[in-house]
C-alpha cells in the first residue's frame, strides 16, 4: 500500500472531469422535476446527445458545433416525452422508460458509421496566470470549456429558480398545478419548456462523454450515467447547489475507488460502488424529516378541466 502516490491535486482535477456529465444531466432533470414532471428517460436523452454531438463534431470538425447539436438532439428527443405526458396525458414513469428504450435504439442506429473514429480534440483552456497558480491552477483553472459551462449552469439554474419570475412560475407549477393554472399560468407550456431544457442538458452531458471524457463512439457508452443523474437530483433534494456537491461526491467515489485500488489498498469494490445509492437513501430519509421534500405535483399528470 502506498497512499502517498495519490496526489490530491490530480485527484481533485480528475474528479471535476468525472463529475461533469452527470452534473449537466442532473441540472436539466432538476429543472424538469421542479416543474412537477418526472422524466426517467435521462439515459436515453444522454446517449442520443452523445451520438448527435459526436457525429456533428466529426462531420464539421468543430466540437462546439457538436455540443450545440447534442443539445438540440437531446431536446428533440425530449419533445417526444413532452408530447406524450403533456398533450396525451400519459403516465410519466412509463413514458420515461419508453423514451430510454427508444433513445438507446435510435442512438445505436445513428452511430453505425461512427465506430472506431476519433473526434476532433477539444482544447483545454489555458488561462494565463490563473492556470499557473500552485494547487488551484491545475485543480480549478486548467479544464476544457464544458467544465466551466457546467459550473456556470449551476449558478444560472440556482438564480433562475430562486430569484427570477420564471423560476417562481416553474416552482408554482411544480408544487400545485391546479392552483398555478387558476392563477393563469400556462402549466403545459411551462412544463414542455422545462422538459426540453432537461433534454438539452442531458444531451450536453452525453456529448461530454463521447467528445471529451472518453472520447469515442460506441453503443451504450453512457453505461448508466443517466440513472446516476436521476439519483443525484434526489440526493440534492432538488437544489442546484447540492447537485454540484452530489456530482462531486458521486464522481469522487468512483475516482477515489480507482485511485485506492491503484495504490494497492485492498477495498471491497462492490460495497464502495453501492455506497452513493445508500447515501442517497439516507439523505432522502433525513430530508423527509426536514420537510424539504419533492415538488408536490411530481409525476402527476395535469389536465385543465375548466
Amino acid at each position: 500500500m502506498d497512499l502517498s502516490s495519490i496526489s490530491p491535486t490530480l485527484l481533485l482535477a480528475s474528479l471535476m472531469v468525472a463529475a461533469t456529465p452527470i452534473l449537466l444531466a442532473a441540472l436539466g432533470e432538476l429543472v424538469v422535476e421542479r416543474s412537477g414532471v418526472l422524466n426517467l428517460g435521462v439515459e436515453g436523452m444522454m446517449i442520443t446527445g452523445a451520438i448527435c454531438g459526436f457525429a456533428v463534431a466529426v462531420e464539421t470538425g468543430s466540437p462546439v458545433l457538436g455540443f450545440a447539436a447534442a443539445a438540440v438532439g437531446g431536446a428533440a428527443l425530449s419533445l417526444l416525452f413532452a408530447l406524450l405526458t403533456q398533450v396525451a396525458l400519459a403516465n410519466h414513469v412509463a413514458s420515461g422508460l419508453a423514451l430510454t428504450l427508444f433513445g438507446l435504439g435510435l442512438s445505436a442506429l445513428l452511430g453505425q458509421g461512427y465506430v472506431g473514429i476519433k473526434p476532433p480534440p477539444t482544447d483545454k483552456l489555458d488561462i494565463p496566470l490563473l492556470g499557473d497558480m500552485p494547487f488551484l491552477g491545475p485543480v480549478v483553472f486548467s479544464h476544457d470549456l464544458m467544465v466551466y459551462v457546467g459550473l456556470a449552469l449551476v449558478v444560472a439554474v440556482w438564480w433562475m429558480l430562486n430569484h427570477s419570475r420564471a423560476g417562481l412560475v416553474l416552482r408554482a407549477v411544480g408544487e400545485n398545478h391546479d392552483a398555478a393554472h387558476a392563477l393563469g399560468f400556462k402549466v403545459v407550456r411551462v412544463r414542455i419548456m422545462a422538459i426540453m431544457f432537461g433534454g438539452a442538458c442531458a444531451g450536453l452531458g452525453g456529448a461530454y462523454i463521447s467528445l471529451i471524457r472518453v472520447p469515442q463512439w460506441t453503443e451504450g457508452m453512457t453505461a448508466g450515467a443517466g440513472w446516476i443523474a436521476l439519483a443525484l437530483v434526489v440526493f440534492a433534494s432538488w437544489k442546484a447547489g447540492r447537485v454540484l456537491l452530489g456530482a462531486y461526491l458521486f464522481g469522487g467515489i468512483t475516482v477515489l475507488q480507482l485511485n485506492l485500488q491503484a495504490a494497492g489498498v485492498d477495498i471491497p469494490v462492490e460495497y464502495l460502488s453501492m455506497s452513493p445509492y445508500v447515501i442517497t437513501i439516507l439523505v432522502l430519509v433525513i430530508m423527509s424529516a426536514d420537510r424539504s421534500r419533492a415538488p408536490a405535483s411530481l409525476g402527476r399528470t395535469f389536465h385543465a378541466s375548466s
Partner: protein, 361 residues
C-alpha cells in the same frame, strides 16, 4: 379554432378495446417506414415480428417461448399494478427480482447436492421472502418517515445489482466452474430445478404462478374489500380516509406484495430458464414490467395480454434479426414506438377531442 381534450364522464368502452389495435397499426406503419429506411422489406419485417412466432413454420417452438418470456413480466406487473392503482409507486421491481433470485438460489445451493422434495418449495418461499424484504425497505421508510418510495426503490436497484455481482463472483460462485463467475446450474440439480411441468410446453412453475396471480388479483380487486380500498385510495384519497382505509397498512401490503411477486419471478427465472446466478442475470424484466402494467391499464387481464404482446415483440424481433439481418437497435426502437403509440392513443379512452373556438389551454 383549435382542438381541446375533454374528460369523458365514463371511460370509453369502445376505445378501451380499440386503442391497442390502433397503436399496433400505427407502430406497423412507423416501424415499416423505419425498416424501409434501413433497406429491408417492411412488409416482410412486420410479418416476421408479429406472424412468425404465432403461426410461422416453427410456431410450435415459439409459442411456449412466449410463456417463458411473458411469465416474469406478468407476475411482476400484477404486483406493481396493485400499488399503482393506489398511488403507491414501486419502480424498483428489478432490484426485488434480483434479491428474490439471490435468496431463492442461495437456499437451493445451500442444500446442494442433497436431493429432497422440500428443497424447491423452500426456494420458492425464500425467493418470495427476499423480494418482500427488499420492498419493505421503501415501504417502512415511507410509512415511518414519509420518504418518497419511487426514489428509494429505484436506488435499491443499483444496490441489488452490486450485491448480485458480489455474489456471482464470491459466495455463490460455482466451485467447479474453473474460476469463472456464476453459480452452479439448477438445470443440473433436479431438486432445485424449476423444470417444465409438461416438457416442450413452456409451462414452468413461474407461468403457473403468473396465472394464479392474475386470477387472485382479479378477485381481490373486484370482490374483496381490500381491492375496493386500493381502488378508492387511488381515485379519491380523502374519501378513502373517511371510509376507514388505513394508509400505512395499504402501503405495506401493496409494496410487500409487489416485492414478493417480483422476488418469485426472479427465483423462478434463476432456477428454470436462466439456470444460474450470473453478473448479468437481470435483463430488465423489472422495468419492462412497469410498461406492461400500464399497457394493460393496471387491469389483471389487460396485463396478461400486454405481457404476451411484449414477449411477442421480443421473440419476433429476435427472429427478424437473424432472418432479415435487422440490427438489434432497430428492434429496440420498434418496441419504443409501440409503447409511445399505446401511451399516446390511450388518452382517447378517458378523453374526447373537441373542436373549440379560440381559447387558451
Amino acid at each position: 379554432m383549435m382542438l381541446k381534450l375533454e374528460k369523458r364522464a365514463q371511460p370509453s368502452l369502445l376505445w378501451t378495446y380499440l386503442t391497442p389495435l390502433v397503436a399496433v397499426i400505427c407502430t406497423m406503419i412507423a416501424g415499416g417506414a423505419l425498416f424501409a429506411v434501413l433497406g429491408k422489406n417492411p412488409g416482410e419485417a412486420i410479418a416476421t415480428i408479429f406472424w412468425q412466432p404465432l403461426f410461422g413454420e416453427f410456431a410450435f417452438y415459439y409459442r411456449p417461448q412466449l410463456l417463458i418470456k411473458g411469465a416474469p413480466l406478468v407476475l411482476i406487473a400484477i404486483g406493481l399494478s396493485l400499488g399503482f392503482r393506489a398511488g403507491i409507486w414501486n419502480i424498483g421491481a428489478e432490484g426485488q427480482y434480483i434479491i428474490g433470485a439471490l435468496t431463492g438460489a442461495g437456499v437451493g445451493l445451500a442444500f446442494y447436492p442433497a436431493e429432497a422434495w422440500y428443497i424447491f418449495p423452500l426456494m420458492v418461499m425464500a425467493g418470495a421472502l427476499g423480494g418482500w424484504a427488499w420492498a419493505m425497505i421503501p415501504a417502512v421508510l415511507r410509512t415511518r418517515f414519509g420518504t418518497n418510495e419511487i426514489l428509494v426503490s429505484l436506488m435499491l436497484v443499483y444496490v441489488a445489482e452490486q450485491l448480485l455481482a458480489k455474489m456471482a463472483l464470491g459466495l455463490l460462485r460455482n466451485p467447479e466452474g474453473h474460476g469463472f463467475p456464476g453459480s452452479r446450474n439448477f438445470q443440473q440439480y433436479p431438486s432445485g430445478h424449476n423444470a417444465e411441468i409438461i416438457t416442450g410446453s413452456g409451462m414452468h412453475w413461474g407461468v403457473v404462478a403468473a396465472l394464479i396471480a392474475v386470477i387472485f388479483s382479479y378477485i381481490l380487486l373486484n370482490r374483496h374489500i381490500l381491492g375496493y380500498h386500493i381502488r378508492l385510495t387511488g381515485q379519491a384519497p380523502r374519501a378513502a380516509k373517511f371510509a376507514g382505509v388505513n394508509p400505512t397498512q395499504l402501503i405495506l401490503f401493496c409494496l410487500g406484495t409487489s416485492g414478493a411477486l417480483a422476488g418469485l419471478a426472479g427465483m423462478f427465472e434463476v432456477s428454470g430458464p436462466a439456470g444460474q446466478i450470473n453478473i448479468d442475470f437481470n435483463v430488465g424484466y423489472g422495468f419492462t414490467a412497469i410498461i406492461v402494467a400500464f399497457l394493460g391499464r393496471l387491469h389483471p387481464v389487460g396485463i396478461l395480454l400486454a405481457g404476451l404482446l411484449m414477449a411477442l415483440t421480443y421473440i419476433g424481433g429476435e427472429i427478424a434479426q437473424s432472418n432479415l439481418g435487422l440490427p438489434a437497435a432497430a428492434i429496440q426502437m420498434f418496441q419504443g414506438m409501440l409503447l409511445f403509440f399505446l401511451l399516446a392513443i390511450d388518452v382517447l379512452t378517458n378523453f374526447r377531442i373537441r373542436r373549440t373556438k379560440r381559447e387558451a389551454v
